[in-house]
């Protein structure tokens, strides 16, 4: 069971200068950190979309691992079984913080977190399938907008379980890999300019409730009567 008790259990938060430990290659230069850019887009239309994440940095020669901590609203869901298949087929690495109901409508579902691991080789990118949930009918029909905020970006140099604090960024503990067996220190990158994305999901028009109920019931009764008459006439009683 993927009950992931880990996420964002920020075990300790260390600020710049709190530790004097230094082991060489596990620190980030400020200029390098300034070069980090993250983007998030949503592709496809309708209820079945892809969230496309990309993390870029200069120079690319330095291999880093990225972890996106993404809080997603109740209006969408990710399918853990589809993610498991994609992991096998394409090496997509996504963990969910809870088992999600794949069928329930938005208003009785809850928000959830996804952890997207991006590993070298470059470019650090992933397309994660996300599905829209059915929403409650609204009085004007149309579309329901589901806003998806950008994820938090965590970085650590490849082959380093701990990151040297030496910069005014926060260190957080989060799973090292998708296997979720150990925690590593990751550097949380602030100040990234990533825009939100939004999904437009069609919703039913509740102002039509009465005509829809009336016509549906009428057609259903007429069809039943039509069939009843035929069976009554032709049946062998």
């Amino acid at each position: 069971m993927l009950s992931l008790y880990f996420v964002l259990t920020v075990l300790h938060v260390t600020f710049c200068g709190a530790s004097g430990k230094d082991d060489g290659g596990c620190a980030f230069a400020p200029s390098w950190l300034d070069s980090v850019v993250m983007s998030m887009k949503i592709s496809k239309q309708g209820f079945h979309r892809d969230l496309v994440y990309e993390v870029r940095h200069e120079p690319r020669s330095r291999p880093v691992k990225a972890l996106l901590l993404h809080r997603l609203p109740s209006g969408v869901y990710m399918d853990q079984y589809q993610l498991a298949d994609l992991r096998e087929e394409m090496g997509l690495q996504v963990l969910l913080d809870s088992a999600l109901d794949l069928e329930s409508p938005a208003h009785i579902s809850s928000a959830f977190s996804a952890l997207v691991f991006l590993s070298p080789p470059e470019p650090l990118q992933a397309a994660v399938p996300v599905h829209g949930r059915y929403h409650k009918a609204s009085s004007s029909g149309g579309w329901e907008h589901v806003i998806i905020d950008p994820p938090k970006l965590l970085l650590r140099p490849e082959h380093c379980d701990t990151v040297d604090p030496g910069l005014p960024h926060r260190l957080v503990d989060a799973p090292c890999t998708i296997h979720n067996q150990s925690l590593c220190s990751w550097l949380e990158i602030h100040g990234l300019q990533v825009s939100k994305v939004s999904l437009e999901l069609p919703v039913g028009d509740s102002s039509l409730t009465i005509p829809v109920c009336a016509v549906t019931t009428l057609v259903s009764l007429l069809c039943s009567a039509f069939l009843f008459r035929a069976v009554w006439k032709r049946g062998i009683f």
Binding site: M1, K44, D85, E103, K136
Partner: protein, 407 residues
Amino acid sequence: MLPVQLMTFRNLHSVAFIIRVILLGFGIYQDKNMVVKYTDIDYHVFTDASRLVTQGESPYNRSTYRYTPLLAWMLSPNIYLTFHFGKLLFVICDVLSGVLIYHILTLRGLSCDAACHFTALWLLNPLPIGVSTRGNAEALLAILVLSTLLCLQLKRHFTAACLYGLSVHMKIYTVIYALPIALFISNQKELKNRYRGVSRLFLTLFHKDLVLFAVVAGVVFLGLFLTFYCMYGWDFLQETYLYHLTRRDIRHNFSPYFYMFYLTAESEWNFVLGLVTFLPQVILLLLTSLAFYEDLPLCCFLNTALFVSFNKVCTSQYFLWYLCLLPLVLPHLRLTIKQGIGLLLLWFIGQGLWLAPAYYLEFEGRNSFVFIWFAGLLFLIINSVVMVQIINNYIPKTFVNQKKKRK
């Protein structure tokens, strides 16, 4: 004459099998190389559940697994041998359903040649071919229902009862065949001639064949039910039966009621509307059972088509439940080929008109709920017209027998 006919039978079934095997191969290729996958999502659900049972866990730990644990067990070679085992099993069942249809048709008095033609309607029909090669388990049920009908026709009540008990265990909807089967078994001419009124009813109800059938089918069903209930508890009951009995999906599906239930979800009217839609279904099922039980395949076909058309949830797999019985009904209709093709086209157009707005809603994000609703209602009307045409053009078996006697 006979070898040629045997060849036809053999050829037909071989061709049907080869087509399916080629499609299995194509499916493997498409799954590996294309974005849109050939294998149905349900097949992955079955395989996941199978993996769980081989690890000694409950298959219901796989969410959306809503079938009997038997299926998960049956597909355990998917884990031990090859992922494609289940599909091959479904394909074999699909072709064996053709064999059963052929035998029932010849028992119903058709020549081998004619029986082959009607069997081809199942074996070469793209719908069952697609469904079984994509990994849906509907063929298992087709084989159970058809073999129950064959055994009943051969008066092998014990075997028929075992198969029927298993059918109801596998898919609860087959319970709608209980009344026509009971009436069919207890329909004894000597009782009709000798007794009247209450005594006839009493003797009919306690006819030894009927009692045997009811007891055996009941024991098979309850035996499996209790075994799995002991093993998997409430999950088994909930997912295999209660879910299907109470299912009311607000997401778009072929049911004429889907939009109504979506708009009234959680309102106090929901219960009343549920009842209003449930009653016509029950009344029609009772009436057709009483009207046509003497011709069991026709009765089961009509019952299934009525049940599916008026159901609160309907997906395209449900169509196979009655399509496997259609070749048994067609030879007894007065329809010309032109009329038959016309009705078939109408049915496909009905589906097409639903599929187009459903595609735009799901994959393009257009708000086409009203069109889907209209298309659902139109599909119900088309289904009713097709059923009425079948009923009106049906030649009763007694009439056929009389004609034969006169000759």
